[in-house]
């Protein structure tokens, strides 16, 4: 049984995996958005987000720690001087993984991994379309959760709150989605 076994081996040896993740981190900080396989994107997310958290504290020590895992000196400077200031006091969840579908050739699931604060292009229809989604989604999720199920009959807004409280158990990505949903609600 593989209960509670974390992480992916990515079909690599330990040193190869380390090299891959460091290369992915370097590319992401350099280009702000990278396209890779879904498995690598998800693994890289758990590798890169702690790096960014570490970089929020700008000291010589922190810079050296980061530099030991980033392959290019200039990228380390980019991280401390450009990326961290833009991220501000976001409490984690700096990265976003969006699925793209399958790659021709080996049918691998592809995904885009990007820094959340560096995607400025939002659609004009955003106000009308995700509203309906935001309304429908929290209810479905609330019904799935036994803890929240008791409060399903109350107002939507309260449902959203319940979900946010229980969200700590889930992955960063889910939490981020919830926040966006509730943020959209407040907008309307």
């Amino acid at each position: 049984m593989r209960h509670g076994v974390k992480g992916r081996k990515l079909g690599r040896t330990s040193s190869h995996r380390k090299a891959t993740l460091e290369a992915l981190a370097t590319s992401l900080f350099k280009h702000k958005k990278i396209k890779t396989t879904l498995a690598k994107a998800k693994t890289a997310k758990t590798f890169i987000e702690p790096l960014i958290t570490k970089a929020k504290n700008d000291s010589v020590h922190a810079r050296r720690l980061i530099a030991s895992q980033i392959n290019e000196r200039k990228v380390v400077q980019e991280l401390f001087n450009v990326i961290v200031p833009k991220i501000g006091d976001r409490p984690g969840g700096y990265l976003r993984v969006v699925k793209l579908g399958q790659r021709f050739g080996d049918a691998a699931q592809m995904a885009i991994l990007e820094l959340v604060d560096f995607n400025d292009v939002a659609s004009k229809k955003k106000e009308s379309a995700p509203k309906a989604k935001a309304k429908a989604e929290p209810k479905q999720k609330a019904e799935a959760k036994p803890k929240a199920a008791a409060k399903v009959k109350e107002e939507d807004v309260q449902d959203a709150n319940v979900i946010e409280e229980t969200a700590e158990v889930k992955t960063d990505e889910n939490i981020e989605e919830k926040k966006e949903d509730s943020a959209e609600k407040e907008n309307k």
Binding site: V98, K99, L100, G101, I112, N119, S123, K126, P130
Partner: protein, 59 residues
């Protein structure tokens, strides 16, 4: 070691396989451009997902 006593006839084999079916992909229309797309994936036509542009299509 034990072996099957009889060869499975074409009829039995094929009857078993009547339950092997391909399922239709779950498509939804893109909220940005209206094209049909796979759910939970960025739209291959316009590159949008959840109201954000994830990539700019080539053409």
């Amino acid at each position: 070691m034990p072996h099957p006593k009889r060869k499975i006839s074409k009829s039995r084999r094929d009857k078993r396989r009547t339950h092997y079916k391909a399922s239709a992909p779950s498509l939804t229309s893109c909220s940005n451009c209206g094209e049909m797309k796979l759910s939970h994936r960025a739209c291959p036509n316009c590159g949008y997902y959840a109201g954000r542009s994830m990539f700019v299509p080539e053409s």
